[in-house]
């Protein structure tokens, strides 16, 4: 075994002598003799993958990733980059965290269990709901699982979940895939100047509705003003109110509990992950009465034999490894390590830092929209609402042409309509806001 190129796996530590001794103890001549694979399905090992050294692979991938264009991104729509402090990497990369697994033996994994318990507690604080699980994959799968929960607890009354017409197509697609297995229906309600149309919700809600889903902020960055009404409509119709948000927005905007939310879903990876090509951490929080219907893992408190507080995975009879086809979900491996990163980032910000970050998301969006609005040929924000991080810009010229020209100037934004762009500002791109405005001016002709 060498640290460079090797004939075998550099991560299998056996010396030739010890391999020989182990084979000898087993009474076989070579490892191949231990395999029981019939000849007609055996493979000759020639996959055609050349082994490379660590250094070669680092060079290869560094060059490959260098083929991504260097653009300053002003993009959001469900995936947001906030500055991740160095402490998050340093602590989360401690091997004791990174290279452990699900806490099947709680006595020896108290550290990670406490991390997850603290993460759950932060979500309880931010949502006002008493139960939060220790992670789902992402916002889309959280919404899908919440809809399934609603279907289980309201199965006598119907099978339809109402969602906003402005829903990321990918999120909608995930939802469709999850609810198809239980024959649930998805209906949409219209938006009114960016926010949910209460009138339209009233007209589409009915006996068959098991849940109404709303997002705050919305996909187009507006802040909802009628959440309590949506909650009330849901409850009048014996349906659940599922609210989608993110961890930063939750620290400032109306507390989900106060507007009658029954389940809170959304993205927690906005803290701790940074831009990661869509990787996420799904929030799942709910009320006590739905505790036994919650998908995923829950960490609870117990006592050990010395009567000291101890943490453990609990209420596992909901889960697939016990309940099999009657489990609340098939989820097993989750996003625990991301939850660790999110918790460290949240702790590092503290309540003041977190709320400041959220307030900046409002003021920076307003200020950038205003600067773009001053340039003739653009109107921003399109919606007469408060905004969080992002807003839509109306362009006189075709939006794709503007976006393409902005790209040539080194900026990436979303095209969301023939004459609509969407712009997202956070602490990672705010330094380039003036340059973006200058570029908007530059590309107008």
């Amino acid at each position: 075994m060498t640290n460079g190129h090797t004939d075998g796996s550099p991560f299998a530590p056996h010396t030739d002598e010890e391999t020989a001794e182990m084979l000898d103890i087993l009474g076989v001549e070579q490892e191949a003799d231990l395999f029981d694979i019939p000849g007609d399905v055996a493979f000759d090992g020639k996959l055609g993958i050349d082994s490379r050294t660590e250094q070669e692979i680092r060079t290869e991938l560094s060059r490959l990733f260098g083929r991504n264009d260097e653009l300053v991104e002003f993009m959001g729509r469900g995936h947001y980059a906030h500055y991740v402090p160095s402490i998050v990497n340093h602590l989360s990369l401690r091997a004791e965290f990174l290279t452990s697994y699900t806490q099947y033996q709680p006595e020896i994994t108290q550290g990670f269990l406490q991390v997850l318990f603290e993460y759950q507690s932060m979500l309880v604080e931010l949502t006002g709901l008493p139960i939060a699980n220790c992670s789902m994959y992402d916002a889309a799968t959280s919404l899908a699982e919440a809809s399934l929960l609603a279907n289980r607890v309201r199965s006598t009354s119907g099978d339809t979940v109402l969602v906003p017409e402005q829903l990321r197509s990918g999120k909608r697609s995930v939802l469709e895939n999850y609810v198809a297995g239980v024959d649930m229906q998805i209906e949409t309600y219209a938006m009114d100047d960016g926010n949910a149309s209460i009138e339209d919700i009233q007209s589409v809600v009915g006996d068959e509705t098991v849940a109404i889903y709303a997002e705050n902020p919305t996909l187009r960055g507006t802040i909802e003003e009628s959440l309590s009404e949506i909650g009330a409509i849901a409850h009048e119709n014996d349906a659940l109110f599922i609210l989608g948000s993110d961890l930063v927005a939750l620290s400032l905007l109306q507390e989900p509990k106060s507007v009658g939310a029954d389940v809170v879903v959304g993205e927690a990876g906005v803290l701790g992950l940074g831009s990661s090509y869509g990787m996420g951490l799904g929030i799942f929080a709910t009320k006590e009465e739905f505790l036994r219907q919650v998908p995923g893992r829950l960490v609870g408190v117990s006592e050990d034999a010395d009567d000291r507080r101890a943490y453990t995975l609990t209420l596992q009879t909901r889960e697939q490894h016990i309940r099999k086809e009657r489990a609340t979900s098939n989820i097993c491996t989750n996003q625990a390590w991301v939850a660790l990163r999110t918790a460290i980032h949240t702790a590092w910000l503290g309540p003041d830092g977190l709320v400041s970050l959220a307030e900046d998301s409002v003021t920076n969006a307003a200020s950038l929209a205003s600067d773009i609005d001053e340039i003739s040929g653009y109107r921003a924000p399109v919606h007469d609402r408060h905004h969080f991080r992002e807003f839509v810009v109306r362009t006189d010229q075709p939006a794709t042409a503007i976006a393409s020209d902005l790209e040539a100037e080194g900026f990436a934004v979303h095209v969301v309509g023939e004459h609509e762009l969407q712009v997202c500002i956070t602490d990672v791109n705010v330094h380039a806001a003036d340059e973006l405005v200058a570029a908007f001016l530059e590309v107008r002709q």
């Binding site: 550099p10 391999t19 490892e31 493979f43 560094s62 098939n330 990436a412």
Partner: protein, 472 residues
């Protein structure tokens, strides 16, 4: 080896205090300085307000009260707890790759190139014609695969309602089939521990949408009748699904695609050494044979004269993750596979199987089923497997998976993987043997050298305390 785990203790009743016990600051939100009217904000927020040194110390202490692969052997059966090579973390941290998922393909050629390369690696390793990298975990991969099967059957007018699953399969298989709307038909095992071909013959019918199989199975046995099994399922128009949890045993030596499997998922956090992260994230890419490729999730990456492009398969099932799955994990899997190459992959399966067989030969517990490959299910006999596991914790090893699969009484499902050398396997064997030979009294006192002593699971479930708010 004797193990004494770190134990920070405060007072009589707890260890390292919670963040909220170190500080709990309530601030008002909204008000005159707020950019939003009070009607749109919350009133207050209570969270710990701690300095960076305090936070660093808190999490460092917690890490010290946690077992990991780098602490010592972690032979959880079916979990494939391999060493996670450090360099893969550095590659995943490349800022050039940290881009938004909605970037136009032309401006994201680097990321698309990596995804394409990994699709190719995995397709070759599994003998599959097309691969999606979108599923964020093994169970999500199963769900994706079964949705693909369902879409295929619906497109062909096949009226199928059942998925057949061996009784010894992973719990996720059953839950997945149910989530996709199928009835589960549970297949008993034969006396030799493998699929009972006669029982399968009786179970398959025109209603069979798929058979989900792990190979080697959950006690490490290769399904020698796999070609016959595949024929039986295919004869009734069903599809054969491969659960990739045990793929480590087959690397370079057998490919599911060559055995007649139509769909498979890969657990890259198992087979391809990406970190398990305390429970995740993993990634569960899915490979399929050519006739199922049109149903894969959208988008897929292809290579054209213009570089790497995204496309939507013709009859795509849509999406199973909001974006492109667990990107950071996929990078690490690519780097690991490239590091090992053909010889390394072959050596990984060779040493994984050697280690399992050697360890089994050194323990006093009986292993009822064989010949096994990368894992074995020992039986604790008239002892309680979960109790023995608690005693093993005192000896610098993590115990195996216990009481599963149920076909082995008091099972201890053990998978040492290729990363242990003879000396650490001997340590593991010693821990097994001490626990197995210990008095019932000693077992009940265990563990004594871990941060927490034996934990009362029933109390946690009886009186759920799931946040620090419940401890105030």
């Amino acid at each position: 080896m004797i193990y004494e785990q770190a134990r920070y203790t405060e007072g009589e009743d707890k260890h390292e205090p919670l963040l909220s016990e170190k500080d709990d600051t309530t601030i008002n939100v909204g008000g005159d300085d707020s950019p939003l009217p009070d009607s749109l904000t919350r009133d207050e927020l209570s969270l710990p307000a701690l300095s960076e040194p305090e936070i660093a110390r808190h999490y460092t202490r917690l890490s010290q009260m946690n077992w990991s692969i780098e602490s010592g052997p972690y032979p959880l059966g079916s979990c494939t707890m391999k060493y996670n090579p450090k360099f893969t973390e550095d590659i995943a941290a490349d800022p050039s790759a940290a881009i938004h998922p909605d970037r136009r393909a032309e401006t994201a050629q680097g990321n698309l190139g990596m995804l394409y390369g990994l699709q190719e690696f995995l397709g070759t390793i599994g003998g599959m014609d097309a691969v999606t990298l979108q599923p964020p975990a093994g169970a999500a991969g199963e769900f994706t695969g079964i949705l693909v099967a369902k879409a295929y059957h619906e497109a062909h007018g096949n009226d199928k309602s059942e998925v057949i699953i061996p009784a010894s399969a992973h719990g996720t298989n059953f839950a997945t089939a149910a989530m996709a709307g199928y009835e589960v038909v549970e297949l008993p095992s034969a006396e030799d521990g493998r699929v009972d071909v006669d029982a399968l013959e009786a179970a398959v019918s025109e209603d069979t949408a798929a058979l989900m199989l792990t190979n080697p199975n959950t006690v490490g046995l290769f399904e020698r009748d796999i070609v016959e099994i595949a024929e039986m399922v295919h004869d009734v128009g069903g599809l054969l699904y491969y659960d990739g949890a045990n793929l480590n045993a087959l690397l370079g030596r057998g490919r599911p695609g060559d055995m007649g499997f139509d769909i498979m998922h890969y657990n890259v956090h198992k087979t391809f050494a990406t970190p398990h992260g305390g429970g995740g994230p993993g990634a569960g890419p899915v490979g399929v044979v050519e006739k199922l490729a049109p149903y894969l999730p959208s988008p897929q990456v292809e290579q054209t004269d213009n570089g790497f492009e995204l496309f939507e398969p013709e009859q795509s099932i849509g999406k199973v993750h909001g974006f492109s799955g667990n990107w950071l994990v996929l990078i690490k899997a690519y780097a690991y596979i490239a590091r090992l190459g053909d010889e390394g992959l072959l050596d990984a399966s060779a040493k994984a199987v050697l280690n399992a067989n050697y360890l089994a030969s050194q323990i006093d517990l009986e292993v009822p089923y064989g010949p096994f490959h990368h894992e074995f299910a020992a039986t604790a006999g008239d002892r309680d497997a979960a109790d023995l596991a608690k005693r093993m914790l005192d000896f610098g090893v993590h115990p195996p998976t216990t009481k599963w699969p149920e076909m082995v009484p008091e099972a201890m499902l053990t998978e040492p993987t290729e990363i242990e050398n003879q000396a650490s396997l001997d340590d593991l064997a010693e821990a097994f043997n001490i626990a197995f030979g210990d008095s019932e009294d000693a077992i009940q006192q265990a563990p004594s050298r871990t941060t927490a002593k034996r934990i009362d699971q029933a109390s946690a479930a009886r009186n759920p305390r799931l946040s620090w708010h419940r401890l105030k």
